[in-house]
């Protein structure tokens, strides 16, 4: 289990994350939501040690993340950020093979190749594994990066806005795959989302942030309702139930 204790971060005079404490439930999808500048991505970066926290600590199964060896951490927690511009030419398979680096240190064995094959299969990329990344569309590229993270075979997968720049079809595809990762493989997924309806339909738990502070943390149905959302977004968000899904209809809302 990942525990976040009193995490804070400032850039210059601006406090971006302030004293956030929460537990991330294992084998579930947890979505971080909140307005722009709420500190969602910063929080995720600190959990995944891309960024050092000013104060507070992150515990992975009771041990301090900062004190863990970086390659053993890489076998347990994977992080994928939203911007992945590469200036090197890689095929899809090359990229996914990088996911095995924590285990193979660059020399892939039989088992590593098997994991790579499986990860490609999982993201429906087997047919295009020899294509170069710069030949792919945004959605395919995103799938290739997620496939790398799957090949990494970690218990925890953290994703920073994986739906950014994707159309509806690809967004749904990716969310379904994340669901499968949790339901079939028992992974724990933490994800920063902008689209509140994707958060509502696909996640088990929701963590809402505002101005760097934690405002809500609970099962999805407790957060996706007008009163709670008003607190997070400062706007009236009517929630309608459609086929068992709670959908926020905020497009015509009065502030």
């Amino acid at each position: 289990m990942i525990e976040i204790k009193g995490l804070s971060k400032s850039f210059g005079k601006k406090t971006v994350v302030e004293d956030v404490t929460l537990k991330i439930q294992a084998k579930a999808i947890t979505s971080f939501i909140g307005p722009n500048g709420a500190g969602k991505s910063t929080l995720l970066s600190m959990v995944s040690r891309l960024l050092d926290a000013d104060t507070g600590e992150v515990l992975l199964d009771q041990s301090d993340v900062k004190k863990m060896k970086s390659d053993s951490f890489a076998k347990r927690v994977a992080i994928l950020k939203q911007t992945n511009h590469l200036n090197i030419r890689l095929s899809v398979r090359d990229l996914v093979s990088f996911g095995r680096y924590p285990y193979s240190k660059g020399r892939l064995n039989e088992e590593d190749h098997k994991f790579v094959d499986q990860a490609l299969e999982y993201m429906n990329l087997t047919d295009m594994q020899d294509k170069f990344l710069d030949e792919l569309s945004g959605g395919q590229k995103q799938r290739a990066f997620i496939s790398m993270v799957i090949a990494q075979d970690t218990d925890y997968i953290l994703l920073d806005e994986p739906l950014n720049n994707l159309d509806m079809k690809h967004s749904v595809q990716i969310m379904k795959i994340l669901r499968k990762l949790v339901d079939e493989l028992g992974k724990t997924v933490v994800i920063v989302l902008h689209d509140i309806n994707f958060a509502s339909v696909y996640s088990d738990r929701i963590v809402a942030l505002k101005n760097g502070r934690l405002v809500k943390d609970g099962p999805t149905h407790e957060i996706i309702n007008s009163t709670a959302l008003r607190e997070v977004y400062d706007m009236d968000i009517p929630v309608q139930v459609q086929d068992g899904c709670r959908i926020c209809v905020y497009f015509n809302s009065h502030n």
Binding site: S48, R49, L50, S70, D71, S72, F73, A74, K75, A78, I79, L80, K81, N84, H85, L86, N87, I88, R89, L90, D94, F98, G99, Y101, P102, K105, G106, R107, V149, Q152
Partner: protein, 318 residues
């Protein structure tokens, strides 16, 4: 497309032909005198070539920038400054000039220190566009260059002659006594350098992805920057500044090999580097009959190539 291993073999064959030509072509004035001299120069060129190739490729990977090299950022000018200051302040008969070891040591320490200070600036500025960094590098370079010129015009003309000889890269008067210590440092650096080739592959995916895959990124960046400045400093102190060599060979290697694998890129860049140095020196000796020096040729071709790369990049950006 040819396979990369075939390409490497082709380059290796060309490099060996260049070396054989250089060692045996038109040997005059007694084999037993000329041959060891030629071998010495050859040895110096191989050390310099591989050191510059490794340093440049590794540097460009950690800075994610294929136009910057330690030399373009001004390590070379630091060498000129150190030498000029020594001549200016102490004169050509001082111990710092006469003792090659002392001069070598002082130059290397100054260059590595300068590089580290520069990198601090570079890292703080890593959010800024590349042109700002290049501009900053050029401005610092120009400032230091003017200082050097200023000192050079007021020192004694005889001293100036002797200083000038040091500031041009030359394989004709390789400092033999420095050859082995340089080789020792370069080999030590490569012992570490070859162990981190896979790490360099991962680091070319960018900071976030590299950390995700378990690389201790910031520590590795610092180590690699120190490693590449040591290599460049040794090469420069051994033969003098060859500013654009690293830039040419690294970019030719990227173009020719089109791979992310650093062992291919670095071996390839080293071979190209050896071909450029040995082949170039061969031309200087037997075609230009010493009317020019290798650093002039390489800086001329390299400068043109640099402009070409800049134009290509800016067109891509626009």
């Amino acid at each position: 497309m040819r396979k990369n291993s075939t390409k490497l073999i082709i380059l290796a064959v060309i490099a060996i032909i260049c070396m054989l030509l250089f060692a045996f072509y038109n040997i005059q004035g007694g084999f037993s005198y000329a041959f060891p001299k030629r071998l010495e120069r050859l040895f110096a060129m191989v050390i310099t070539g591989t050191a510059i190739a490794y340093a440049t490729v590794a540097f460009q990977t950690v800075t994610h920038n294929r136009l910057l090299t330690p030399s373009v950022m001004g390590i070379d000018s630091m060498y000129e400054i150190v030498q000029t200051i020594i001549y200016f302040a102490l004169g050509s008969s001082s111990i710092f000039v006469v003792s090659r070891y002392l001069n070598f040591g002082v130059s290397i320490i100054a260059m590595v220190l300068f590089a580290l200070i520069l990198y601090r600036f570079l890292f703080r500025a890593d959010k800024h566009p590349i042109f700002l960094l290049l501009l900053a590098g050029m401005i610092i370079g120009t400032l230091l260059g003017s200082l050097v010129t200023f000192m050079q015009v007021i020192i004694d003309p005889v001293e100036y002659e002797s200083l000038q000889a040091r500031l041009f890269a030359s394989f004709m008067n390789v400092k033999t006594e420095l050859l082995f210590i340089s080789a020792g440092i370069v080999i030590l650096a490569f012992l570490y350098g070859t162990r981190i080739l896979h790490k360099l592959d991962v680091m070319s995916l960018g900071r976030d992805n590299a950390i995700n895959l378990g690389i201790n990124y910031d520590k590795m960046v610092l180590r690699i920057l120190i490693l590449s400045s040591i290599l460049i400093a040794v090469a420069t102190a051994l033969v003098g500044p060859i500013t654009f060599l690293g830039l040419i060979v690294s970019n030719l290697a990227y173009q020719y090999f089109a791979t992310y694998k650093h062992w291919v890129l670095i071996v390839g860049a080293s071979l190209i580097s050896i071909i450029a140095l040995v082949g170039g020196q061969f031309l200087v000796l037997h075609v230009f009959h010493l009317t020019t020096t290798i650093s002039v040729i390489i800086n001329f071709i390299g400068g043109l190539y640099f402009i070409y790369l800049l134009l290509k990049e800016s067109r891509k950006a626009g």
